[in-house]
Subunit: 199 residues, 4 copies
DNA sequence: TATGAATGAGCATTCATTCAT
DNA sequence: TATGAATGAATGCTCATTCAT
């Protein structure tokens, strides 16, 4: 169990991470200075280093937070007892709802190749792979159960879906003509059409 | 008409742009130094400033070069007298073939919001819009001619397609299991399934 | 008289000083952080400031501790009723035995000019002078009593002796081929040969 | 052969090194900022990095310059055809004359253990060893030729001599009562008395 | 007494940009 | 045209010091 102090420090870290993600998303990793991140939190640059070893560490922990959320969501979906169509629908919708509600957090994770290096890079890439493969599992299950078109190329379809989902960050705006829910539904509908078997 | 001297300069600029794009794609705009770009060309940092006003200018002209290529390609397709299915197929395939063959050039264009500002940003965004709307045109034509499902949401579908296409840069590798052509075909096949009317 | 509480504090200070000297000797004054000194004592940085006004003060008190020890030793020798040859011998030997047994403490005192300033510097330099002049006294006595060569230049000889003695810190190691005692004897023998009158 | 440009750059480097040595000697490596070194040369901090990779590099090259000078001198002496007494005399004198005339350069080399690390440290220590062993050679030769007392401990005597020589930096001042030459003579005379055989 | 947290001044280093040649 | 040299503003990071608890 966490002591009170550990809880407090964890809470503070979370605050910093959220705030950092906003700035990082807007200006990119290299374009963001520690000063900016700190200023956004009414902190001083130096204080940031009490909580994070360095800038890389800050980015990595941001990445972690988003990844943990994302993986948790999709694992819920994959491990449910819904049918594959419902699962894919929900995976797509849940990704969009999460990504749009935490837009800055997701944006910040873009291009890990440029921003991470060494072990951090490896770990980040592995987590992305893990996330991606959950879609493979759903697609595979759908084919086996005869609800998805058995002629689809699972890898390609997975790339198409993930590409479509990630792209939402580039254009989605809260003030846009459609709510996040509407977008989520629409995406699910169109993407499903790509894989369900014609009856 | 261009004088010989102007042609020579233009040629040199092209060389620089290509080389710069490679470096920029790998390390990102902010992560790339003028020195690296220059070194890659066996030039000195200082010399770059003979051809480009500054680093922003270099990036922008890189962006232009790719955009010109891309727009030319898609306009050829849109303005042809093929049927909408063929047009969409070709637009998708031509995008993938261009993007994979000039991967670094395309990668470098990512996230204009972070790298451009002021007029450059506006112009870059406008060109992206122009490119995107060509897909709208194809989709619209397909619906009007009764070959595309009239219940699709053109905007959403366009986003899905563009997202899928741009995402290829994140995973495509020359050494991958599929050639660019195979990927292009596969993408076209799957994406078309999303829009063509069931007969 | 010291109260029990004062004694406890004094004891703690001693502990800190010894520990600090070790770290300071290894990395130099500027190269050592308060954090390192504290960590070595299983303390926190902040706590150090209960015992010492600041980093300078810490160094100065370290210096004091060593100086007090050194001066006490040499004064014992000078004030004894031995003959000058015996005195010089013992002064040399006692310096080496003390310096080698408290190597880190002595090393840390190097280059007061770089590490002290203001009053601290003056005081440190004065103490060094005091220490040095005890050797002058022995040499003078030796000449007067006719056992030391009256043609020697006392100042020069003192410099040679002190230089030789201080240099031991640069090379002495507990694992070396000679024990501290052997070194002390050897130094005394050679240095004496420099000053005793040929009979 | 060096081109004119290479010569110019080498000259500039020399200027920087000399100036840097002065500041480094006064404040120590860690206590000296690049800004101070630069200011002393009417340069900007940034320009220093055109000539030196970093602060470590600057220190190391300073060290090299002094070492090269010192080694050259002592090798001249050792390789001459003088008798051992004359050789030791000259080695001592030449060290003192060099060290006093380039006091800051020599001071700056103090305590390589604290200022160098890795390969630089190894190389610096090796050069010091090389320098030291030239004294061993002279002593050895003297014993073999029967002019030095065969009961001396060469290693100890070498330590005493080097210690005495290096210590001059701590007290020598141009305004002192004795000129460098007088000091050199005096040192040589006293130190020789320690090793020459009584006839 | 002790310490967790915060701070701010300082520093090494990088890099786009300039300019004389 | 090309470049060597210089610059200065920016930036990540460190660390002595403070202080409320």
């Amino acid at each position: 169990m966490m002591s009170l102090r550990e809880k407090k420090i964890a809470k503070k870290k979370q605050d910093i991470l959220r705030s950092a993600a906003t700035v990082l998303a807007e200006k990119g990793f290299q374009g963001t200075t520690m000063e900016e991140v700190a200023a956004n939190l009414l902190m001083t640059k130096g204080s940031m280093y009490y909580y994070f070893k360095n800038k890389d560490d800050l980015l990595f922990q941001c990445h972690q937070m988003v990844m943990d959320l994302s993986l948790e969501k999709i694992e819920q979906v994959v491990n449910s007892d819904k049918d594959p169509i419902k699962k894919l629908e929900q995976a797509v919708e849940s990704h969009i709802l999460l990504a749009t509600s935490e837009k800055s957090m997701f944006l910040m994770m873009d291009q890990p190749n440029q921003n991470f290096s060494g072990e951090h890079l490896e770990e980040a890439l592995q987590q992305r792979k893990d996330y991606a493969h959950h879609f493979d599992d759903i697609l595979q299950e759908g084919i086996e159960k005869g609800v998805f078109d058995e002629t689809i190329d699972i890898r390609m379809v997975r790339f198409i879906i993930l590409g479509a989902l990630n792209w939402t960050l580039q254009w989605y705006s809260e003030d846009g003509p459609q709510t996040a829910e509407e977008i989520a539904n629409s995406y699910a509908k169109h993407l499903l059409k790509m894989v369900v078997k014609d009856q």
